[in-house]
Amino acid sequence: MVPIQYYTALAVLLFILGTLGVLIRRNAIIVFMSIELMLNSANLAFVAFARARQALDGQVFVFFVIAVAAAEVAVGLALIVAIFRSKHNIDIDQINSLQG
């Protein structure tokens, strides 16, 4: 059985990759994918701990997360399409009209 630390380390690694992707990348779709990556790192941590502790709560939580993520993908992609329609571009550095 793979020790829990490996799973956790992988989850952390994935989360950091996701975070960095959100912070650094300019393509909205890539940013979006990075967010999915962070969600899935959290899912990984959930199932890893659920398995280790022999409890079903974590598994159930993951289903919720996947459901919410699906909904989020629908909303997010719709947003990106809308942005593209108005700006002909999905570079998030161009979308800075909220600046002070």
Binding site: V22, L23, I24, V31, I92, D93, I95, N96, Q99, G100
Partner: protein, 715 residues
Amino acid sequence: MLLEEAISSGPTFFSLAPWIVFFPGIGLLINIIFGGMILERGKWGEKIVGSIASLASGLAFVVAVLLAISLQGHPEGQIVTLTDWITIGDLSIPWAFQVDTLSVVMMLVVSGVGTLIHIYAIGYMHEDVRHNGDPNRFRRFFVFMNLFIAAMMILVSGDNYMMLFVGWEGVGLCSYLLIGFWYEKGKDGIGNAMAAKKAMITNRIGDFGFLLAAFSIFWTFGTFNFHSIFEKAPEVAAQNPEALLFITLCMLIGVTGKSAQLPLYVWLPDAMAGPTPVSALIHAATMVTAGVYLIARSAELYVLVPTAQTVVTLVGAATALFAATIAVGQFDIKKVLAYSTISQLGFMVAAVGMGAFVAGMFHLVTHAFFKALLFLSAGSVIQGLERGHHHVAHDPRLKKHVKGHGHEFDPQDMRNMGGLRSQMKITFWVYLIGAIALTGIPPLAGFWSKDEILAEANHLNLTAYILLTLAAIFTAFYMARQVLMVFFGKARTPAADHAQESPLVMTVPLMVLAALTVLGGALNLPFMGFHNLTLWLEQTLEGVVKEGEFVVLVALLSTGLTLVAFGLAWWLYNPRRYEEFWGAPAARRADDPLRSYIGPVFDTLKNKYWVDELYWTVILNPYISLSRFLADVIDWQFWHDWFHDKAIVGSYNMLTRLLAVRFDLGGIDAFFNGLARLVQRFAGLLRRVQTGYVRNYALMIFVGVVVILGYLLLR
């Protein structure tokens, strides 16, 4: 005597006294309210309005007669209190009518002569309406006339100086209103209005004196009531003679204003701008005699102050002579009569001044008759001429003859008259009677009254006697001149040639007045048993009245001198000579035959001694300059421009600018603006944080989470 018994035991009518004021008041109210409506009914409307006014005045006369009858039985008279008027502390002035022989004489004259003049005015004012078009003038005229009668009645019937003053001002107001009746006429279209203003202002000066006298009376006596004042007067005269002197002299100023004496007489000639019935009623018969009445009423004060008596006498006598000389040089028929009135008022004032109160009142009564007669006849002459002028102007055949006598035709100029004897017979005869009465030829009324004054003057004040006798000579001269110029000879203008007699409504009052003028002397014949007026007035002026005596020498002298003056006038103005004089080309002849003898003197008389000009130079122009100076320099430039605009507004502006700029803008605003700018700058720094890049925000959140977690872990 059965009649006397019946009178003395009969009822008394004293309680009717207030009605002498109420009747004219009711008359004027009816005309104010319904007059316009009545006048719309056309031709009869005027007669109805005039009749209402005449009836109101006539009823007042009836009341006056009833009061006179009552006085026969109760000569001491009565005070009829109508109501309280002024009550302040100890001072109580009732509205009370003093019915005594003196006031009733005045009431009879005012309402009697007044009624005749009202009737005459119905005819006279008809012409005015016919020429000027506005029928409402008719109502206005009669309302003012009734108002005058009411005010005059208040004047003569009050039992205190305050009521007298109300009447005094009331008649002054009516005089002003009626002088300015044709306010749109006269020189430059304002001449008549100016005349009215002049009368008003000149009278104000006199009234100022009257008010001073009234205040001093209150100060000295503590009351305005005639009876109480006269009771205390001897006591005051003993303790404080200066007070009485001051009172009587101030009263004299009032008299000189109202009764047109030197030096305030100047308004009366100008007052001739009013309609002729007004001149007859107000400026000859009644209002101007108010001053004489005032002195007669205050007789008991005047007899205590010989100095004041002398002053009054000399003022009166000087006025009599002064005005009589001016009348010689006048060409306006009404101006001659105006100066004659001033002169005759001088006679009266001189008479009451020297203590001959009965003679003064007697002359007042007879003068009211014959001067009203003369003025009304003059009005008849003027309208006769106007009718003639109208006739000529509307007859194309005649009009061709008289090229150039268009609008400048003056129907009052005696030079435009002549020969009216044949055109206006009735007017001529009554005028002649009036003129002879005025000049003092026996047995007409004027002779008896004037002679009584001269006889009294002869032994009371010789200076006055000489002045008055001279005045009488001039009187005879100017009246003869006037009668000769107006009625004798040939007509000098086509208008005079076509003059027409006035209607009956005007001539009948003239004839009544002529009868009164002939018979009026019977009031007080200077023979035993005929001192009626003396006995009558004795009841009121107890102790200050003496029976006038008849001095044959004085009468003969004055009559003789009058005849001499007549002769002189005949020599200068007899028809043949005057026509010869008039026949000369206008450029080469003088304006009057008298000029060839006394040239510059005639100029002086014609220009009234330049008294008006003198007043303009000495008083009015400096006064106007002073008021201009006060208005322009002191008020406008100093107070308005400098003090108000510069000093107050300027310094206020400066203060507000200081507060606004330095304090508000520089202090408060700057503080808050600075605060705002500080916040703005700080906000400017902070806004850099908000880049609009989502990842920056995410980084912030991430850093924040890391920091919070770090804090929680390392705590």
